[in-house]
């Protein structure tokens, strides 16, 4: 389980958020652009430091500002697919997926086994030797997903994973995410600005407006209008 | 269509270049001057007689009658051996004072560089050379107006040291001490040839070939002009440098220490002055040459440490 309580002074407002994500569930983070969704993910991943806060992942403390605990991002064991899926264009699909495993210095046979396994899961095995820079948007998304999951992270985070995809690919990716999150029984935080996405894939939803949680609950019961900033 | 454009462009540019090169053959025939080719010491009266376009102005109270000039014919470009750098300002202002309306631009560089430039078409009115052999070459190649090449002045070689004498050089023999750093001109520079001759003379007369070889192995840089050697010495970066006596004499006292080289071993560098065939200002060039050879010019040169020829 992921427990996050953070605050951070941003340029136009203060981000003040409490977030809980249950294992096996997909928690959707929604809100307008600039409301602090991506910033929240970056803080959880360790790429940004909060002014004050606590981040607990499965009883492991990743960040506690009062005690000066701040686990660096490479040790947090979080799978994070950013808005730019950032597949390394100069590496093959295989090398991309294997990147995290190799970075953790796993032995070669293990790396090879896991990489093949995950390419299999995401149906990109036939693309293994292709330079990732050449892939289509949907293919890149799947490579990024395989890469993030191959290291068996404790938490999966996705920032706007469907924006650049067509309907067909979106459906495919949604199914994959749902399956893996359930199977691996890890919490998943997914940022999106589309109501439809949150309804199709989310188990819980959170609406953020100008750094503050506006509403929390089941996606199907989301209110029409956001009271703080009149969004939607 | 692009191809047609490229061809047109090439034609246009070729035409432009052809047009530019038209100007070169225009100066083929040298203008016969009424310059007295004899006595280097001409009085100012003779100067007046020699200039056909001189017009006596009634307003000149000075002893020297001032000729009238049209500004367009009176800017002189003088290619000058670099060793005259110090003297050039004074020469320039004195000349323009004596000949109001004229301006003089000095192009100062190693004589070898200037010679190459002239041979490749650079424009100059007067050429002051530090080397007889370069002068002879240019003369043979027809760059000088006949009978205008005259001896201007002479210079000897001297050794200068930084004021603090970091290498503790007391005599010429010390130049061969191990670890001494010497600056010299490249052999293509007239001062460089002169220095090599001096070293040979000294080796044959007083010191040995070993001395000469060790001195040469102590050379850390062959500069491309004589003033550059003086600069390196002045900065204290080398222990000694071979330069012209004029450089040592003309420098403010305290700039260098120096060690003179006995006259019998020294190399007398002869400077010549001549009017170039390509000059468009031959009359004014003649005035300049006269000025330099006259007592006025010679006085300035003496003040800057050159030796009268």
């Amino acid at each position: 389980m992921l427990e996050v309580v953070i605050s951070k002074q941003l340029r136009e407002y203060t981000l003040n958020l409490t977030l809980r994500a249950q294992p096996g569930e997909i928690t959707v983070l929604m809100g307008l652009n600039g409301s602090g969704k991506s910033t929240t993910l970056n803080i959880v991943a360790g790429l940004l430091r909060p002014d004050a806060g606590t981040i607990l992942l499965n009883d492991r403390c990743l960040c506690e500002t009062r005690e000066g605990i701040d686990v660096p991002p490479d040790c947090r064991d979080i799978g994070y697919v950013l808005q730019n899926p950032a597949v390394f264009p100069h590496m093959t699909v295989y090398e991309n997926v294997a990147f995290g495993l190799r970075a953790r210095h796993y032995p070669r046979p293990y790396v090879s086994e896991k990489t093949s396994e995950w390419m299999e899961h995401l149906q990109i095995s036939d693309l293994a030797q292709i330079k990732a820079g050449r892939l289509s948007g949907g293919q890149k998304q799947r490579v990024a997903l395989a890469r993030a999951l191959a290291t068996k992270p404790e938490l999966l985070m996705l920032d706007e994973p469907f924006t650049a995809l067509d309907q067909e690919s979106t459906r495919g990716v949604k199914d994959l995410i749902r399956n893996f999150v359930r199977e691996m029984n890890i919490p998943c935080v997914l940022v999106t600005h589309r109501l439809l996405d949150s309804q199709e894939i989310g188990d819980r939803a959170l609406v953020i407006c100008r750094g503050v949680m506006e509403w929390e609950g089941s996606p199907g019961q989301m209110p029409e209008v956001c009271t703080i900033c009149q969004c939607r | 269509m692009v191809l047609i454009g490229v061809i047109c462009g090439l034609l246009v540019i070729t035409a432009l270049f052809a047009g530019c090169t038209q100007s070169a053959p225009a100066t083929a025939t040298p203008v016969p001057t009424t310059l007295p080719a004899t006595a280097p010491e001409t009085t100012t009266a003779a100067l007046v007689a020699a200039t056909p376009s001189a017009a006596q102005t009634t307003v000149a109270p000075t002893a020297t009658p001032v000729p009238n000039f049209t500004p367009s014919q009176s800017n002189l470009v003088v290619f000058t051996a670099a060793s005259l750098t110090g003297a050039s300002n004074t020469i320039g202002s004195s000349f323009t004072k004596a000949y109001p309306g004229t301006t003089v631009s000095f192009d100062l560089d190693g004589t070898q560089a200037l010679k190459t430039q002239v041979e490749n078409g650079a424009y100059a009115d007067v050429f002051i050379s530090a080397s007889n052999s370069y002068t002879n070459t240019l003369n043979k190649e027809g760059y000088f107006v006949p009978n205008t090449v005259q001896t201007l002045t002479t210079n000897y070689i001297i050794v200068i040291l930084p004021p603090s004498n970091p290498g503790n050089i007391q005599t010429l023999a010390d130049l061969a001490k191990p670890g001494v750093r010497i600056a010299m001109e490249a052999s293509t520079v007239p001062a460089g040839t002169a220095t090599l001759a001096v070293l040979n003379n000294l080796a044959n007369d007083t010191y040995s070939q070993t001395w000469k070889n060790q001195t040469i192995s102590n050379v850390v840089t062959y500069e491309t002009s004589e003033p550059a050697v003086a600069t390196k010495v002045g900065l204290g970066e080398v222990d000694a440098g071979f330069v012209y006596q004029s450089t040592a004499t003309a420098a403010p006292s305290g700039t260098y220490q120096s060690i003179t080289i006995p006259k019998k071993d020294n190399y007398l560098q002869t400077y010549t002055i001549g009017i170039l065939n390509g000059s468009k200002n031959k009359a004014a060039a003649a005035w300049f040459e006269q000025f330099m050879i006259s007592s006025a010019g010679q006085q300035i040169l003496k003040q800057f440490g050159f030796t009268a020829p």
Partner: protein, 279 residues
């Protein structure tokens, strides 16, 4: 009659001369630039016969200048890349007090006349120099040595690489490095496997410019390092001295420099083509 006139004019208008004029201007411009850049090189090649070239190639001054130039330039390039790449990386990723000053300093050697750079180096590192006289006390002399040549080259040529590297790193989408970080990669791994391969093309181009500038350096070299065959007489110095003395030497070295420059350009083009083909 009027009708014929009208029809004639109609045809003119229909032919639409505007694009043709554009092509014409383009052609002229292309020809002008090509002419200006290519013809001096061609003139050089015409002036030296292959016979004279190969004979002069054996001249000891030519050989020494060639080796010295290549030796010093390669070392300069190595130092600039090895030190400059991490420097540019940190400079682009972090902000620190005085960053603006450092930014300006990186650009300074580009506008500073090389002779001025040479004087400055001499006044600092020379035997009588501000720092130099300390070195001298320990018996270390810098001016008039091959080291001085390398130092002068680094001073004038490094901005080409540093600016390029800094700009490339700044423009690289941080998402790549951030993702690599969350996947567990160390800083070194990120630099070596992600950052540099993704900026390699531009870095090579910067390195080439640095090499070219270092190879052609004259003013700072002659001021700080002096001119001593075999020790500090690089090819540009040898050309200068040669042109005033033995013209054949000057011309031969000039052509050598042209050949080397072309060779570098061709190698770089090939590398870039290979990179593009792989991606």
């Amino acid at each position: 009659m009027k009708q014929n006139m009208a029809m004639f004019l109609e045809r003119f208008r229909k032919k639409n001369y505007r694009p043709n004029l554009t092509y014409l201007i383009a052609g002229v411009l292309i020809a002008a630039v090509t002419f200006y850049l290519a013809f001096p090189i061609i003139a050089l090649l015409i002036r030296v016969t292959p016979d004279m070239f190969f004979t002069t190639l054996k001249d000891p001054d030519v050989v020494r200048a060639l080796w010295l130039s290549l030796f010093t330039t390669v070392i300069t390039l190595t130092i600039v890349i090895v030190v400059g790449t991490p420097f540019a990386y940190f400079h682009s990723r972090y902000s620190y007090p005085g960053k603006v000053v450092v930014d300006t300093l990186i650009d300074l050697p580009l506008v500073l006349p090389p002779a001025v750079a040479g004087v400055a180096l001499l006044v600092l590192y020379g035997r009588a120099g501000i720092l130099g006289h300390y070195f001298n006390m320990f018996g270390i002399s810098i001016a008039f040595t091959t080291l001085a040549v390398i130092m002068a080259q680094i001073f004038v040529a490094s901005p080409f690489y540093l600016r390029q590297a800094k700009s490339l790193f700044e423009q690289l989408d941080p998402a790549y490095e951030q993702t690599a970080r969350t996947l567990g990669a160390s800083s070194f791994r990120i630099l070596a496997l992600v950052t540099i391969p993704m900026t390699a093309g531009g870095l090579i181009s910067g390195a080439v410019m640095t090499f070219g500038r270092a190879l052609g350096e004259f003013g700072a070299t002659i001021m700080f390092a002096g001119n001593l065959p075999g020790v500090t007489q690089t090819m540009p110095l040898a050309v200068y001295v040669g042109m005033e003395g033995d013209i054949n030497v000057g011309l031969t070295i000039s052509i050598l420099l042209v050949i080397i420059s072309f060779a570098i350009m061709i190698v770089v083009r090939i590398i870039q083509k290979m990179e593009a083909a792989r991606a």
